[in-house]
Symmetry: C2
Subunit: 356 residues, 2 copies
């Protein structure tokens, strides 16, 4: 029986409810320190409960189900921990990139910068915003563990998942470091862009959540390997789709201004491919515009034109298609629960399909 | 049998060796991502292995021993996790405060800022330093969990300690937030300074580590209560000693320039007491100089004079003495292992004795 998109929406709602219940328990702990902690509690809740695609919990949940784990509230609690890890990554990432917005709202550091300004407090409002956003991210990272450890799953399950959980979190940080470093060194090679994408996103968004769910369920190595066969190519395809959306995406969907990745100067695989294929004049245009924070809509259009006419966009779309097909073929293993296989197929298509 | 200071030095060495062994296991994991990860691995190791007083592991270790836990390598591994939590707190704190130095060396963000500059990389060196320091702190926070979970202690012990570990980490973040907020709102009340000190330091440095060790050992509530009776006043005394050292301390011992807390504008209990007792002219001088980043040695001397002549210093020293005595009397419980009681007495005296 294939699971309808409605069931995915249902899982999203259950993840949100699990996060909400956990946050309701944390709130009095913060307020016990003092009523001044209210904005911290409020903003963490707002961030965690404000949508998001809940992709990582979904892959972790279906990783568990695929290994024969039964649906239960406890596993939903456990996979919701990944949303807290992700919240830390996003809030800190926005500080590091100096991003103004996230999901169409002001980024966390901008929210506290605004609170500082509106309250007429002393000192530098931006520095205050940065400091609090660092603490918000740290708190989310800590609460991820607590969410996992108090999920209600048996201790053996938690112990089994701990190594994957640790590995995943170290990989995220390593990937982020490589990303920051790459912006600094200006290494524009395709190889480097692929490595950053692999560590920062591919493993972390899909493969590791699947492994995490599998480990919670005590899956055999054969299934873990199948999840890698599915998760790694799909993760790369997903990242490439994200690269394309970052340049061509609809602001209403991405929650970021059109062409924002270009203004931020992101050295994506799409950009690396464009530079490989571009004429010298086109390459000069890309280098001139990339990372210009004041890039105009005309500049964005000119960049889009180079990315398209160089053939980089079409090549990227073709690779997304091939990687997705490769991912889907890895699902053809006996050991995988058929309902989970169907959902993972649907998720793969939803995560990578063309939306521009 | 009383444990000599040599035994405390021995525990410090064992904590350092445990951290070193753990870091040696993490290093290849980072380098597997790419050789460019070397500076990240190097700087995390340098920070963790560069001394520090290992106070939190010491209290956690003796919390375990006091509850009848046997000495073993596994518990040393487990308590060393607290050094990784502390590393995160310090590295992020230095970013938030814009501090240049830590333990007499450049702060983490300044180290990576220097690496950026020396390497001639592109973009803003300071922003690079901040971004990497955020990631370094996150990595330390993650590694703390892994250090704890792979300590070798039985799963039941780890499960027992998890709630204390979670509570402690949330309290640190809440205390830090309150600290940052207090600098911004300019609330100079003694009450606020005491609350910040309690959450940011007292509970976290002494009480919670003792509880953590006690929980690992499965101690009864009576011992946990005795540890609070010892840890909370001692923690406050320790924080007051730190306030005094921040103004009057020897740079060779504190690793910070003389009077650095004054330049940073720290609203400590010592400063709150000074303002309570000062004449209007003295109070005006304090308000004028406090937080002046260019405060001269003469300015520092003038501030010291107000703190002393107002009687705030003597009163603070008296409170330190009283709190320490109160802490020591809480150790008089049957249930506490006598050797641990002796060491905790020595630690209390070492942590709070007059050094100016």
């Amino acid at each position: 029986m294939a699971t309808s998109p409605l069931d995915c929406a249902d899982l999203r709602r259950r993840v949100s409810r699990a996060a909400e219940a956990f946050l309701a328990r944390q709130r009095p702990r913060l307020l016990a320190v003092g009523p001044d902690l209210r904005p911290l509690a409020d903003e963490i809740s707002a961030f965690l409960l404000d949508g998001g695609k809940r992709l990582r919990p979904a892959f972790a949940y279906w990783g568990w189900r695929g290994a024969g784990g039964a649906d239960c509230a406890e596993v939903v609690n456990a996979v919701t921990a990944l949303e807290f890890v992700q919240a830390c990554a996003l809030v800190h990432d926005d500080v590091m990139d100096g991003s103004d917005t996230r999901r169409g709202h002001p980024a966390m550091h901008r929210r506290f910068e605004a609170l500082h300004r509106e309250s007429g407090w002393r000192g530098d409002a931006a520095a205050f915003g940065t400091a609090v956003a660092i603490l918000v991210g740290d708190t989310c990272l800590i609460w991820a563990d607590e969410m996992l450890n108090t999920s209600g799953l048996p201790a053996e399950a938690l112990l089994r998942a701990q190594p994957v959980y640790d590995e995943m979190r170290t990989e995220i940080m390593a990937g982020q470091y490589l990303d920051v470093l790459t912006q600094a060194t200006g290494d524009h090679s395709l190889e480097r862009a692929m490595t950053v994408a692999r560590y920062k996103s591919a493993k972390y968004t899909i493969e590791r959540p699947l492994h995490f769910g599998a480990a919670l369920a005590g899956a055999p190595p054969e299934l873990t390997a199948a999840y890698s066969g599915y998760g790694l190519p799909l993760g790369e395809a997903f990242q490439l789709r994200d690269d394309v959306l970052g340049v061509f995406g609809d602001p209403a969907e991405t929650g970021k201004p059109a062409g924002d990745d270009l203004r931020e100067g992101k050295r994506t695989v799409l950009i690396a491919k464009t530079l490989e294929r571009a004429t010298p004049a086109q390459a000069a245009l890309v280098e001139r515009h990339l990372g210009d924070p004041h890039l105009s809509p005309d500049g964005v259009a000119a960049m889009r034109d180079v990315i398209t006419s160089s053939g980089a966009l079409a090549e990227t779309e073709k690779i997304i298609e091939e990687l997705t097909a490769q991912a889907l073929s890895a699902l053809q293993v006996e050991i995988l629960d058929p309902e989970a296989a169907d959902v993972l197929r649907d998720l793969a298509i939803a995560a990578t399909s063309r939306r521009v």
